[in-house]
């Protein structure tokens, strides 16, 4: 089964929908050091650097046991953020403002298939606009605090520490409530290996992962956009990155 999934990842056609995640310069920083946080857009955990663009940032913060602080950075520069980390676990969080995307019927159909959203929306017959929102987290350091929540519209909350547990276990929340039957995928940075499962009625999902490597866990949800918002759909992209 794993082999089959890997194969699918390798022969997948040119990407249609792109994930968004945070890649820190290190997942195990020494205490009281400065690391960078890159924003990345891509597929199969292979992303293009995204320079800091304050027009798109709703929130860009780092939270640890002591406090929550904004992540500073230089406009239009990559890496987008510079983070001073303390002891223990730090979670860096990014919440984007919505951006518009033009969807063709073909791309939309492929997107629904790829993100496991075919039970949410039907393929459209004509091009339409979609507003997409990014919700990304990365967990660095060690110790408790990995399960801190930021109240994003779509949020993956770790129930076990994904850096150390055999099975990674997340609860997916949509507007604060568990979201059932949503596809959650875990992707390895080294080779794009992919493991996926759907959430249960409590929005919970458990995936057994190899004991090492850098991982991206992601899920995408789709909701009808409010009337006269200039878009027909809103897509919500949640991601968490961590190292095992």
């Amino acid at each position: 089964m794993t082999r089959l999934l890997v194969l699918i990842a390798l022969v997948a056609p040119a990407a249609l929908a792109h994930d968004f995640w945070i890649e820190p310069s290190t997942f195990q920083p020494a205490a009281a050091t400065t690391i960078t946080a890159s924003l990345r857009v891509g597929e199969d955990f292979l992303g293009d650097p995204v320079p800091r663009n304050s027009a798109l940032i709703d929130a860009f913060v780092v939270r640890d046991i002591a406090s929550e602080r904004p992540v500073p950075g230089v406009e239009n520069r990559h890496p987008a953020g510079i983070v001073r980390v303390g002891n223990g676990t730090s979670v860096i969080h990014y919440r984007g403002k919505g951006s518009l995307l033009e969807q063709t019927p073909e791309k939309f159909a492929a997107f629904l298939f790829e993100e496991g959203l075919e039970h949410v929306a039907r393929a459209s017959r004509r091009p339409h606009r979609e507003r997409f929102y990014r919700y990304a987290k990365t967990i660095v350091g060690r110790g408790p605090g990995f399960d801190t929540q930021f109240g994003d519209r779509l949020e993956l909350v770790p129930l076990l520490d994904p850096r150390v547990s055999d099975r990674v276990c997340f609860r997916l929340l949509f507007e604060g409530r568990p979201l059932a039957n949503a596809l959650v995928a875990a992707i390895a940075r080294d080779d794009g290996r992919r493991f996926a499962a759907r959430t249960d009625r409590d929005g919970k999902v458990a995936i057994t992962l190899p004991p090492d490597g850098v991982w991206l866990v992601k899920s995408t949800h789709l909701v009808a956009a409010p009337p006269s918002s200039g878009a027909e759909w809103e897509s919500l992209w949640a991601s968490v990155t961590f190292s095992r």
Partner: protein
Amino acid sequence: MGVPVGIRHLLALILLATPALGHELGTTRVHAVLTDETYTIDVLADRETLQRRLARRPGTFRDVADIRFGERRVIPEVALLADRVRYSGPLQPGAFTWRFELVSTRYPLTIDARGERVTQWIDGDARSAPFTRRMSFREYLVLGFTHILPLGADHILFVLGMFLLTRRTRDVLAQVTAFTVAHSITLALSIYGVVSVPASIVEPLIALSIVFIAVENLIVREVRPRRVLLVFAFGLLHGLGFAGVLRELGGDFIRALVAFNLGVELGQLAVIALAWLLLTSWSRHHTWYRQRVLVPASLTIAAAGLFWMLERVQS
């Protein structure tokens, strides 16, 4: 003099920073330079990401860049330079488009061609909008010339048919001038959209004009004003035919019109000059010129015209 290139680029980017549709703006930049003979496309991107993406899929850097002129995809030379991947090759006719498969973010594609600069925003692996380069005066000139010699067999036969009737300089000049003025008029009018006649009508009529002029060679014996008028009328038709070629190319009309027309003229003069060289040296005696040259040649031309006409009506 003036602003350094880097800052100019930056200014151009800021000026163009419109709220475009698509993914987040990445760090990738693509710069295409189209000269009269070559294209060079530089992809400035995060090299590590490119390499890793490439490693996970079949193919090479050559396969992930889809460069087209018109519908035709070209196979470029690829050079991996310190800070960029460079694609290059000989320029081809047709509108230029670009698609690059190894990028997920939105990026600017800057195209430089003959002093003109255009920037397009491309979202990830989407194809760019077609870019038509302005052709040079010389290129239009060559295009006009080759449209007669060697490509325009029908125009060649018409010009020959016109010339065969008489080799008196004055008569040749009168006909050539009438033809030129006429086709220049309709070429200009249809380029500017004043007249528009579909090729399905113009092309068979051009063939018919060849038959007509050749048959007339068999009937009349000298160039009269009526003949010049006829040539003028047919010239109007041929101009509509030339316009089709130019309209397909697009671009800068006035310059295209003048240069293309000049090319057509030179092509016609070349045909006449060749015919003159071949015929006048040994055909001074009018009696057998008519029998052995004019009649068989005109019949052949008429037959060719008839064949084209039937062929064009059918298609």
